[in-house]
């Protein structure tokens, strides 16, 4: 079957989906890692995971060890999680850094802002300096980062256009939700391990076509015709609902709504993927962010975090709401895993899209294809 990406970037009506190799071929995975993740603005985790000053989490981001830390001024920073001396991993488990980040190998110490503080015995026993060791040039390697809607987005290459510029359109679209978000805590997050390439989770999230079949429970109150496609080429895609039904507790109680929302959001909700890997939702009473962590070409972690308009919400309701969402995400697992298995069929040509229903998936595929075509152009230049 053809690996010609120009078939993917054709208009929706004539396009094919991404070829099998984008789900099964390690060399393509490596190209995507560079073009879509390292040179773009993927989500890493959420800032609520490091609530206190000094909180630090080691992460593996597509195989690269990173360290997320809340510095002394309260700002969230991301570093490559290695000592500048011998490349030793600095922090192995989630912890609170009380003082310095000390390398467990030769005890080079760094501040939580990444500055190299001391290089013990570097000039011999008891001599902590050496003319060739310039501490000012040997701080931790900082990863460019930006926090939006509590999600920490990173740009490994360091040269992408600023996040705020790229996503101005979406920020404007959801301007009304630029309000304090309160993470519901331990009862408002979950993790699902899914045996599929990360893109299949994106594709499934973007479209509403599957709702009547995979989520019949949702369909009883939010029918297919109540949904619309969201396509912003090269930026994001997803779906919207014109009939959002608010979650209610056993006694009929509702979560408080976000303040001063326009009428659009009384019954409306939107579900959008910020490319490449952040699934976001806005609804009048709660929002969520799901970050897809690609752990291999055919395994993905889905990290879900739910936020409310107030810090004072009912724990039982939060727990029930989280369970409801987890149930919906679980309903999708057999689909994305089934499509991953299907990518082993040599006859599959990327698939034919519904010109009416599959716009958001095509929008995502075209973004992937264009990024890879640009990378190939760069590599061959």
């Amino acid at each position: 079957m053809s690996n010609d990406l120009t078939l993917v970037t054709k208009p929706l009506e004539a396009a094919n989906g991404l070829p099998n190799s984008h789900y099964t071929d390690q060399s393509v995975y490596e190209l995507e890692k560079r073009a879509l993740f390292f040179e773009g603005w993927p989500g890493l985790c959420v800032a609520s995971e490091v609530p206190k000053i000094g909180d630090a989490i080691p992460m593996s981001f597509m195989g690269m060890p990173l360290l997320v830390i809340r510095g002394k001024q309260g700002e969230v920073q991301v570093f490559q999680n290695i000592c500048r001396h011998r490349g030793m991993i600095l922090v192995k488990e989630k912890k609170n850094i009380e003082g310095a980040i000390r390398c467990p190998y030769h005890s080079w110490c760094y501040s939580t802002e990444g500055n190299l503080l001391v290089t013990p015995h570097v000039g011999g026993p008891g001599m902590n300096t050496h003319p060739n060791i310039d501490k000012n040039t040997l701080g931790l390697i900082k990863v460019r980062s930006c926090v939006w809607r509590d999600v920490i987005f990173i740009n490994i290459s360091g040269d992408a256009e600023p996040f705020e510029n790229i996503h101005k359109n979406l920020m404007t679209r959801w301007e009304e939700f630029e309000q304090p978000l309160f993470h519901g805590g331990e009862d408002s997050k979950f993790l699902l391990d899914v045996k599929c390439n990360w893109k299949l989770a994106v594709e499934n999230y973007c479209e509403s076509y599957h709702l009547p079949w995979i989520h019949p429970g949702l369909n009883t109150y939010s029918k297919l015709e109540d949904h619309y496609n969201i396509n912003e080429p090269n930026l994001y895609s997803g779906q919207g609902s014109l009939l959002y039904r608010q979650f209610l507790g056993n006694n009929g109680a509702a979560f408080p709504n976000f303040a001063d929302l326009s009428d659009k959001w009384t019954d409306g909700a939107e579900y959008i993927t910020v490319y490449p890997n952040v699934l976001l939702a806005v609804q009048k009473d709660h929002v969520y962010a799901t970050i897809l962590n690609s752990t291999s070409i055919n395994t993905t972690e889905e990290h879900m975090h739910i936020y409310y308009a107030s810090s004072d919400t009912d724990p039982k309701m939060r727990e029930d709401n989280c369970m409801q969402w987890e149930g919906i995400f679980i309903e999708d697992i057999f689909v994305v895993e089934g499509m991953q298995t299907g990518r082993q069929c040599s006859g599959f040509d990327g698939g034919r899209f519904s010109p009416t229903m599959d716009g958001p998936t095509h929008c995502f595929h075209a973004w992937v294809a264009n990024k890879l075509l640009n990378l190939n152009h760069t590599l061959s230049a």
């Binding site: 310095a100 008891g126 001599m127």
Partner: protein
């Protein structure tokens, strides 16, 4: 028991328990048992690193200036 041997044992014990506060004290005490500047600085450095590790600003400032006095940092 020889003071140096005794403190050496205490340091090993503190390392085994990852008792960093105690290591600051013990390495500092050990520095007093030596006379050569290289030896003194070695132990002061050890104490200084653990003071940074635990975020003991008072101790780390004190140890930093002691090492600075000897042009060791």
């Amino acid at each position: 028991m020889n003071k140096k041997i005794k403190i050496d044992q205490l340091i090993i014990e503190a390392h085994s328990k990852n008792d960093r506060e105690n290591l600051i004290k013990l390495y500092f005490e050990a520095s007093k048992l030596f006379s050569k500047i290289e030896e003194i600085s070695f132990f002061l450095t050890q104490a200084y690193v653990f003071s940074l590790d635990v975020g003991d600003d008072i101790e780390s400032k004190k140890l930093f200036y002691m090492l600075k006095q000897h042009s060791r940092i």
